[in-house]
Amino acid sequence: MSVPQEHDYIGLSEENKASDKILSSEIETKNVLNLKETELRLGLPGSESPERKSGNGVSLFWKDEGNNGFSQSPLKNFVSGAKRDFSDAIKGSGKWALSINGGSEGDLEKNDGLFSPRGYKGNNTLPEKEIPPVKPVEEKKIESGNNTPANKAQVVGWPPIRSFRKNTLATNSPKNSDVTAKSGSRCLYVKVSMDGAPYLRKIDLKTYRSYMELSSALEKMFSCFTIGQYGEGFAGKERLSESHIMDLLHGSEYVLTYEDKDGDWMLVGDVPWEMFTDSCKRLRIMKGSDAIGLAPRTMQKCKSQK
């Protein structure tokens, strides 16, 4: 096959700038090189999200490296009462993203996720004779050995296996000695609803290894609702600050609860993580005031289950 030649019908050139005849003037001249503006970020619209920003940019659901700064506060919002404050329990870096950022070639500006879109830059287009650098791939191979199975499952919807099959594999009894149901290999989708939110979400509990990870993921997922509630009145360009959002969440006293195998609603955080994932069927972020009365039962229930 001949090397793909540069063609003009879509106005692509070596420089590949967005201002060509195809695009109308309605589209702002896209600065393809400006990665920051176009990358998918989880922060608030236009905000710099200082606590969440990383050098390489982050895609949804991925946590930056070494970004422990903000991880403390959201937990308070999901767990009511001083008794269940997880901030003390947080240790170490919340590093559960696939750590592949090192070694990416500067001009490819690969995100730290292997699974982020590549090639924003024009000079990646043609002629694409050379293969994308092998280095990042090899690095990934080396790194992957350090990642626990739970990390691999973090790309949403990958590998492409239907939930029915995933859940069936997860509940296969580990009879066969060669076939062990490793905790990292299971997958468990549960629905998460939030009081007042217009729709619910589904998450895979097995992609998290601790309450901290779960909590921060949920906080990210549902922060858009809180913004929505209070953001409607804002002019399009006004920005809410990070801390403002934290205040809103904190002020509303949301509490994270779950429905267990027996159909009872319990507060999240009382039992060891493994026990929680084994028994959790559904999650609900409810208003703190509604959660009163859940607390005492959980302790008793745990005791009776022993």
Partner: protein
């Protein structure tokens, strides 16, 4: 010239046309043929529930007896479409309950069905016979009870892999004692145990029962009872295939199977205890379809079973079969047409079984009729793909999933462009292709050049630039469905090929680089397309126009923009830059 046949004659002629394509062609000949055809069409297939409205369907085709509708995009199977996106069947059921009182069949895929819908179906259609719900959700077993209780002539109830809120197994007991019409029952997706005696009596009184797919909760010890009542079964899905190892259970099971001389399909087989597998050996020579994809048994046991099934045409299996097992398969099952190998441990960091590209190569060499492949593995090479392509030029469906989505050729470390290029170049009849691995724009050039019959293409983590997308959109003449995730495709190719999108059913792009501005432009320029942006960060106009959207779903429609969208979906159209209900 008045040399035309009387209408009745034409109608009779048209009654032999079953294919939609033929009927659509007939409708275009002249006005009177259009009229005759539309009154005589009995079956409707709607590939995208938002491409047309119930009102339009009913207005054109007043005498429909069977409807098949598909809803959510395919990537919904992998949780890429958030809950609440849409695909509600309710407006369809409501409209049809008034307009089609004689409706007999409803088949739905990836749609949201509520108990209310099921009750409405049960009440509205006196001749209702067939309900197939594939990968649907939103209903409970209470809805099933309504169907069981009220549909006097129910022939087929197939729940596919739907997500049913399982309140209890009591629904099955709602089949009245005088219900004897069942031909097919598939309840394999349900968790709760049904009353076994109710099940047994139901099976016993339905002499035409051909397909019975049990759920996992039906115990193996009782399977032989059911088989004795239904020796005419053609397809059986067992429950959990495990029990205490006892010779009496084994012998009654073996004896029960030996009586099922018509059995062609076997599935279920959860929790298999290998000692019980020989009970099915007597039927193996007749088996053409075998679904072992939940059977967590090792290669030797798998091989023993599979090598007895010389007439096997379709095999779904876990990767426990390994390369050695696939070699044995290739040696014994010369009629094999479809192979699907699923991963037993997809999230593990290291391979847990010895299944590589070699297994697929062996099957491609040994099975001359192989035409449909779904293969999960952890490594691939261009050489293997080229060999497979040359061995099987009649391949129709080829879906390869490498667990690491950007894995290069494991021997040469090059991209897998040439391998997939060989597939599309050799397999001229290829209709469906899913690719993974390290792939550059080059592979898309091959696809655009050669894949002229390709109807559905799935791409993930591939390509370098818009040129890749452009090759596909401009070259693949038969393309109907294109789904893309995590690729660096942006605005240029999409806008340059906007007209192509009108010839396709749908385009899905998520985590790519298509900007909000481009989506707006596309929506404005192409009124026959619905350009839907999904973004859970909030309204797209609260971010710069150059900001990429999270998810884009574009589909052609004659029904205009939909009005049932939830809070994270926006349609780009002429009326407003963003319009949302």
């Amino acid at each position: 010239m008045a040399y035309s046949f009387p209408e009745e004659v034409l109608e009779h002629v048209f009654s032999f046309l079953s294919s939609d394509k033929d009927r659509n062609a007939v409708s275009l000949v002249c006005k009177s043929w259009y009229e005759i055809e539309r009154w005589s069409r009995r079956r409707i297939f709607i590939g995208n529930c938002y491409a047309v409205s119930p009102e339009i369907m009913i207005r054109r085709f007043p005498e429909v007896r069977a409807v098949e509708i598909k809803g959510k995009p395919h990537f919904a199977d992998f949780n890429l479409v958030p809950e609440g996106w849409g695909a509600y069947v309710r407006p369809w059921i409501r409209a049809m309950s008034a307009a089609y009182p004689f409706l007999e069949e409803i088949k739905l895929k990836r749609m949201v069905v509520t108990d209310e819908c099921l009750e409405l179906i049960a009440r509205s259609f006196k001749n209702f016979e067939v309900l197939v719900l594939s990968s649907c959700d939103g209903f409970t077993t209470a809805g099933l009870a309504s169907i069981a209780a009220n549909c006097r002539n129910l022939r087929e109830l197939d729940l596919g892999e739907s997500e049913v809120e399982d309140l209890s197994g009591h629904w099955l007991s709602h089949f009245p004692d005088n219900c004897t019409s069942l031909v097919s029952l598939n309840m394999s997706c349900l968790g709760s145990e049904v009353s076994f005696s109710a099940l047994e009596r139901l099976v016993a009184r339905c002499p035409n029962l051909r397909t019975l797919r049990l759920n996992r909760a039906v115990p193996l010890e009782k399977l032989s009872n059911l088989l004795h009542h239904a020796p005419q079964l053609v397809e059986l899905g067992t429950g959990a295939y495990s029990a205490e190892i006892r010779s009496d259970i084994f012998s009654s099971l073996a004896e029960a199977f030996s009586v099922c001389k018509q059995l062609k399909g076997l599935s279920g087989l959860w929790d298999v205890v290998p000692a019980y597998l020989p009970a099915v050996y007597s039927v193996c020579s007749g088996i053409t379809s075998l679904n072992l994809s939940y059977a967590t048994i090792q290669s030797p046991d798998l091989v023993k079973l599979v090598s007895q099934c010389q007439n096997l045409q379709r095999l779904w299996v876990l990767d426990y079969i390994e390369d050695t097992g696939l070699e044995a398969l290739a040696a014994s099952c010369k009629d094999l047409e479809e192979l699907r190998v699923f991963p037993s441990d997809p999230f593990g960091a290291e391979p847990n079984v010895s299944l590589t590209e070699q297994g697929l190569v062996s099957v491609s060499e040994g099975c001359p009729r192989l035409q449909s492949v779904l293969y999960f593995c952890r490594q691939m090479s261009n050489a293997a793909l080229i060999t497979i392509a040359r061995n099987r030029p009649k391949m129709i469906r080829f879906r390869l999933c490498i667990i690491d989505p950007q894995a290069p050729d494991h021997l040469t470390h090059e991209p897998l462009d040439t391998g997939f290029g060989a597939i599309v170049e050799n397999c001229k009849e290829l209709r469906r292709l899913s690719m993974t691995g390290l792939l550059t724009d080059r592979v898309f050039e091959y696809i655009g050049t050669h894949a002229k019959k390709l109807e559905m293409l799935s791409i993930a983590f591939a390509g370098n630039s818009d040129l890749g997308l452009h090759h596909v959109l401009s070259g693949c003449e038969s393309l109907r469905k294109l789904e893309i995730r995590d690729c660096p495709f942006g605005d240029e190719a999409l806008l340059a090929n906007a007209a192509k999108l009108e010839t396709m059913r749908s385009l899905w792009m998520s985590s790519c680089s298509v900007t909000f501005g481009a989506c707006k432009l596309l929506g404005r320029r192409m009124p026959s397309l619905n350009v839907e942006v999904m973004d859970e960060r909030g309204p797209p106009d609260s971010r710069p126009e150059s900001c990429p959207v999270e998810k884009l779903y574009v589909y052609r429609t004659v029904a205009g923009r939909r009005v049932d969208m939830t809070g994270f979906v926006w349609t780009m159209d002429e009326d407003a830059a963003t319009a949302r209900l």
